[in-house]
Every structure is written in structure tokens, then in C-alpha cells.
Symmetry: C2
């Protein structure tokens, strides 16, 4: 460990700064381990109140971020994600209150038994400890992530995008004030505002103090975090979701399959659970024709395989890349397959393990699809757009995991916990 003489003009000693931040978070997490759910919920209620009280202040700070974004020539879409108006503050506060009202995952006994030797065994949910959240420009993540981590009893280090620096500072201050108001350590939630990317690299080495990293943002951010991190990462890469229209979809109520396809693609194309590829059994050509018409009516561009283009003449030709592309836009790729097995093979090869649906009236087809598709969410006769923590009844969601370890699919507060085996005896020794 090297010592630097700190001069005002000298750059920050990044390893020392990372050690300090992580050490404070670890210490705060140990203190928080002794704090009950009622008190954690009080913090959330205080936070919601403070956000509302500080609406003007937050909107002003956000205005500064918007001005800077405008000066740097940011796109309209980018500015849209960054903008916070008074209704957005109210939405944020309401979300925090809802998190406060959710069931407390901490302390739940997952399983338990009495062993033949009299030992009483319990597997009890406990907080993970310290969570590092790395995210991009949406300032509401500062609030949502801090609240959800706190709900599950975790200390948090938040590393937001510099584009939202002024907004994030006001939100984080409200969180820390709410903690202090309830007699808890302000450093339970820390916001990292330096624009120095190297500090993130140093934080990603602190695997003694930080238990898990959750990156939220584009694939580039996530890949960078995964490559650098010495700490386990829970991640969500692409959402390349599929709807497979089985031959037995013809037996579904008239129009149902086409309606689901259009909903999955076009109801909100920019989100991860929107469909990117539709697969049609060759016998389902009538549904393909109807779906094509309705997609065009919804303004969706279609890129099809050769067989698709024989049926939908206006479709553009799909290239090999189309099968692995998350458009996040009003574009869809369509392929005609000759069997359910081919559809499964396509999904497992080109998909991202996020959400895939089959539309069919046939039990055997549905069961085969559900068993064989290796994805976090597998659906029968509904839109992929339902793949969401709120829709699943998990409450607020920290993200949708496409990993297989720890958590898969929509992640709620319970997924921000681990467990501890508690064993109580009355003098047992092992023979």
C-alpha cells in the first residue's frame, strides 16, 4: 500500500478512494444488519416525503443537466430519458412508497427442519451486504435502486452517469437525509460522482467489501463491467425475444395469435421484453398473412426469410445478422420453420435467454416448447411483454436477469438477499 501526500492539485489517489468508499459501505451494511424492517420502511416513507418536498429543487437541478445535454448536442431520445418534471417526481415518490409497503424479504425462513440428533436447522434470508449499482443516464434509477436495496437491508454504492450528475446529487441527498432522519448511517447509500472511469475499475476490485455488482444499461456498459470485475455480477444482456406460432395456433380463437404477435412487437418496441423475431410454422401461413398486415398497419418494418417473403411480398430480406439483433424499434424479423424442433433450435441458438413464447392450442406442443427452450421466461399463449417484475407480482424490479445463477428473470427485493444457515443445538458434538 503506497502513501501519497495529498496536495490540492494532485489527482485523487483512486485505490485509496475506492477503499474508503467500499469500507464505509461495508461498515454501514454491518450496522444495517441489526435494523428491523419497520425502521427500513420508515426511511422509505421519509424519502418519499422528502422527494415531494424537494420537487422544485430537483426539477431545477435536472434543468442544469438538460442544459448541459443540450449544449453537448445530445439526441432528443437521450434528453427524454434524462428529463424529470414534477409528475416524474411524484411517480418516483409513489414507487418508493410501494416498495415500503412490500413484504420484507429479510428474515424469511426459506426452509427448516429438526435433524435426528436434535439440531434445529433454519435457512434464513439475510441481506447480501453491499451492492454496487452502475448505471447510465436515467436519474430515477438512483431512487429506485437505492430504495429497493435498502428494502432488502443492503448498503449501496451508486455510480450514475455524469449526464445526470445534478439530478442524481439531489436524489441521493434526499436518501441520505432520510437515513439520518431515522437515525441510520448516511453512508448506507453513497453516490459516486467523479467522472473518472478509473475509480469504477478500482471499486470493481474491492471484493472483500462489495458483495455484488449490478450494471444497468446498454450491452457495452455491461460487458465492460463483466470484464473488469473481481466481484460477482448480476447482469441482463440483450432481450432478443421470440414468439413462435405453432401449427396448432390455427385452432386458437380467430385473430388471437396475430394480436399477440403485434402486441409483443409493437405495443412498446423500445423495451427488453418486446419481441424481435417471430417464427411461424409453415402450416400457419394464414396467421402469418394476417400478422403481416396488422404489423404494417402498426408501422412495423418486416424483414423476412425467403419463405416469409413468398407470403408477405413487401417484406425486406432478412440477413443472418437479423436473427441476433435486438432492434428496440419498430422492426421485426420473421422466419418460417418446418417444425417445433426447428423453432426451439432457432431460439436456443439466436435468442438471449430472456423471454420466448409459443402460441398453440396443443398441450403436447406447449409442454415440449416449455421444456426445451432454455430461457428465463417461457410463455404460452400470451405476449412476451408480460415478462416484468410488476406483472409477476414481485413488486418493484431491479432488473431482469438473463444469468442462470442466483436469480433468473425479473428480480425483486428477495433477489437482493442471500441466506444464512442457522443451527441451534443443546450441546451436540460430532462423533
Amino acid at each position: 500500500m503506497h502513501v501519497t501526500t495529498k496536495l490540492q492539485t494532485e489527482p485523487v489517489d483512486l485505490p485509496a478512494e475506492a477503499r474508503r468508499l467500499a469500507g464505509q459501505a461495508r461498515a454501514a451494511s454491518w450496522k444495517l444488519a441489526g435494523v428491523g424492517g419497520r425502521q427500513r420502511n420508515e426511511v422509505l416513507r421519509s424519502l418519499a416525503d422528502l422527494l415531494e418536498e424537494r420537487t422544485d429543487h430537483l426539477v431545477q437541478a435536472n434543468g442544469r443537466d438538460l442544459d448541459l445535454a443540450g449544449e453537448s448536442g445530445a439526441s432528443e431520445a437521450f434528453v427524454g430519458k434524462l428529463r424529470i418534471g414534477p409528475p416524474d417526481v411524484a411517480t418516483m415518490a409513489a414507487a418508493v412508497r410501494r416498495i415500503g409497503d412490500q413484504t420484507d424479504p429479510v428474515g424469511q425462513v426459506i426452509e427448516g427442519s429438526v435433524r435426528p440428533n436434535g439440531l434445529r436447522l433454519e435457512k434464513v434470508r439475510v441481506p447480501l451486504g453491499v451492492i454496487l449499482i452502475i448505471y447510465e443516464s436515467r436519474p430515477n434509477v438512483t431512487c429506485d435502486a437505492a430504495a429497493l436495496c435498502l428494502k432488502a437491508g443492503n448498503a449501496t454504492i451508486l455510480r450514475g452517469g455524469k449526464e445526470a450528475a445534478h439530478s442524481n446529487a439531489v436524489i441521493a441527498e434526499a436518501v441520505r437525509d432520510a437515513l439520518e432522519a431515522q437515525g441510520l448511517d448516511r453512508d448506507t447509500v453513497q453516490l459516486v460522482q467523479t467522472s473518472d472511469r478509473a475509480l469504477v475499475g478500482e471499486l470493481l476490485k474491492r471484493n472483500k467489501e462489495i458483495d455484488v455488482v449490478i450494471p444497468r444499461g446498454g450491452a457495452g456498459l455491461i460487458r465492460a463491467v463483466v470484464e473488469q470485475s473481481h466481484i460477482p455480477v448480476i447482469k441482463h444482456f440483450d432481450g432478443i425475444c421470440h414468439v413462435y406460432v405453432d401449427r396448432h395456433a390455427l385452432e386458437l380463437p380467430e385473430g388471437q395469435a396475430a394480436a399477440i404477435c403485434v402486441n409483443a412487437k409493437a405495443q412498446r418496441p423500445g423495451v427488453c421484453n418486446a419481441a424481435e423475431t417471430l417464427l411461424f410454422h409453415e402450416a400457419a401461413a394464414p396467421i402469418l398473412r394476417e400478422t403481416g398486415r396488422r404489423l404494417r398497419d402498426a408501422g412495423v418494418e418486416i424483414r423476412g426469410c425467403e419463405l416469409t417473403r413468398q407470403i408477405l411480398e413487401s417484406a425486406e430480406p432478412a440477413t443472418e445478422d437479423d436473427w441476433s439483433t435486438e432492434y428496440l424499434d419498430k422492426i421485426v424479423s420473421i422466419r418460417v420453420v418446418s417444425s417445433l424442433a426447428d423453432a426451439v433450435e432457432h431460439i436456443n441458438r439466436h435468442g438471449s435467454g430472456h423471454t420466448d413464447a409459443i402460441l398453440t392450442a396443443d398441450i403436447a406442443s406447449a409442454d415440449a416448447f416449455v421444456a426445451a427452450v432454455d430461457s428465463a421466461n417461457v410463455m404460452v399463449n400470451c405476449s412476451t411483454r408480460f415478462s416484468d417484475g410488476g406483472e409477476y407480482g414481485l413488486g418493484a424490479e431491479i432488473g431482469i436477469s438473463t444469468d442462470k445463477l442466483h436469480a433468473r428473470g425479473p428480480m425483486g427485493a428477495a433477489d437482493l438477499t442471500t441466506y444464512k444457515w442457522v443451527v441451534r443445538g443443546d450441546g451436540q458434538v460430532r462423533q
Copy 2:
């Protein structure tokens, strides 16, 4: 992707070899996803039978490994771990049969609900997929790991130590023959026998095909795997376990606390759940005195802090390093502390998050310890030696995780699964 012209004399193209092995495992895992528990259990029964039938053959192959170990001047302890006699084969076969008899984790519905819109939601246990096990010289790991992974519906790539190459080859052949006898793909279990460490490095890059890596062995092996791997790792580092003798241990039945301390340290000192450090509240000096006497009778060397040495005069002085050392031997470090909080602070600072126990008659002390100690297993009034999958009733154990994500503490077959959200509707679209 480059193409090499394969000549007999040319070295193997390691990236291609890793791709081939991982691809075969992935394909086998997808086939296995459709195979029911009954058939998987039949494979395990066939394997147990084949192992018994091939006892002589296995013992002979093991003899070649032992000869080579002898020639290379291996230690007696090393040879002891490597040796397989006919009773060891019987033990292995019995373990495989027990795994076959365990409850099948695959297909268990972890939770489920019907959503207000009529969607039926199930969170269903499914196999992880492909597991890479990297281990050292004990050949029985080949059998145990393959059987437990198969129980949970996973394909496995086994990378054993080269010292056990002949033994491992016979065991792996029995596993593959058992798979074939039940009509399953032999490549469901593959053994990697090349001594080239670089191949392991290439396998650790195959994160599209391999879902998780489990290293089993010393800390050096585990650290190397963690540093190289692009695939999530479930690991078990050190077992630096503690027993804290509270001031209220004086109110426990006469002799109980000392008996537990001695059992935790000396009953089997070479394993990860044996205690390495004993902490005594300063008021518990009478128990420290008794424990010291009984430890010496059991041949255990004591290294103590200054206060310990005032009570146990024959104790050697402990250095700072002693508090962070896993002796795996008849050595114990002892520290006197002035409060439960100091004991917790010592454990969270120096421990490895494996297993820690408090001995006390006081409910408040027990509760405070259980809440504050950040370890996988926290025990009250029993020996740390009970931290074990068999003792917990989990059946066979693939290891003891000191991670917090996915699995913590003893890991059984259920910890070799993930889950899938299955959503069934009747035409729902999102508004």
C-alpha cells in the same frame, strides 16, 4: 475462426478442442433437458452396478497412479488421498445409489400464482445446463460430481488431476457406459485428461456453452480459476471457523462448552468445518482453563493472545497471521475478548464466512451473534463440525459455498439447478 491442418505431430488446436468439448456438452445438456428423473436415476443405478463389477479393474488402474506418485516422491498424505481399495469402490457405489434415491430437484415448483389478468405463473426448477468441475487428486470426485450433476439434470465436463488419470479414466468410462446403457448420450459426461493447463484456460472462455464452473481443491486452484474464468464460478475458499465462548457459557451444563470446543478443533482437524480459532469472553476464564487442558490431552498445539497466555501458561504466543490461518492441523489459536461485539468484529474481520458458533445460555447473546456474524453457517451450542450437507439432510454435497450469490453453505443437488418462469395464458396482451 482459423483452420488448422491437423498433422499427427502438430500440437492440438486448444481453442478448437475446447469449442468441441463445450459444444458436445451443450448439445448433450439440451437432450438431457427432456429426460425424466426416473431415467436419470436408472443411469445412477447402472453406474453403481458397473463400479462394483469393475472393482478389480479400477483398483489396478489406481495402482498405476500410485506407482507414478511413488516414483515422483509424493508425500504419504497425497498418496493416501489418491488410493482406492475395494472398500472405497463399495463406498463410491453406495454414494451413487444414495444420490439416485434422493428427491429429484428438477421440476419442483418453487412458487406460483394466478395473476389478476388470469396469467398462471410458475417458478420451476430446471437444470443449470453444463457444469465444468475442476478438481485435484481425489478420484472419487469424478464419481460423486458426475452423479450429483446428473441427478440435477446437468451435463458435465470433468477436469481431474493428472495424478489420478488412470483411476479417473476407469470411473468416467463407467459413467459413460451407464449413460449409454440407458439410451442417453455418452457426452453427457466428458473427462478431460490432457495435462495441458492451457486447455482449461480455453474452456474457461466458453461462456456460451458452459453455465457454471465449480473448482474443488486448494485455495491456489480456486484463485487461478476465478482469475481466468469468463464463466460464473461457485467457490469455497478457506474454512477459518470460530467458536466464541460467551460469558453466559458459564451457565451451560458443566463441561459442555469445553467439549464442543475440543470437538470443533480436534475431532477431524484436516477438514474445512473444523475450528481454527477459539474466542473466550474474559469472564469465561474457567472454561478456557478446562478447554486448554483437554486440547493438550488431545495433542493440540495452542497459540494464544497475551491474556490467553496468562491463563494457559504453556501456550505459544499467537502472531497476527495466526488469526487468518486455516491450519487444517492439530493447532488452534485462542483469543480472549472483552465483549460479544469484539468477538463478532474479530470473526467478520478474520474469518472466511464459512461456519462460526457461539456457546451461551443467554437468548439475547445468541440472537445478537446470529444476526451479526456474516457467515454461511452460524451455530448456537453445537460443534462447527456439523456444517455439512449430509448433516443438514441435503444428501450428497458438491461443496460448501462461501459465496453469497446463488448458493451459500453446503450445496446439494438443488443448488445445481436454476429456475425458469413459466407463464400460461389464454390470449392475454399487454395494454
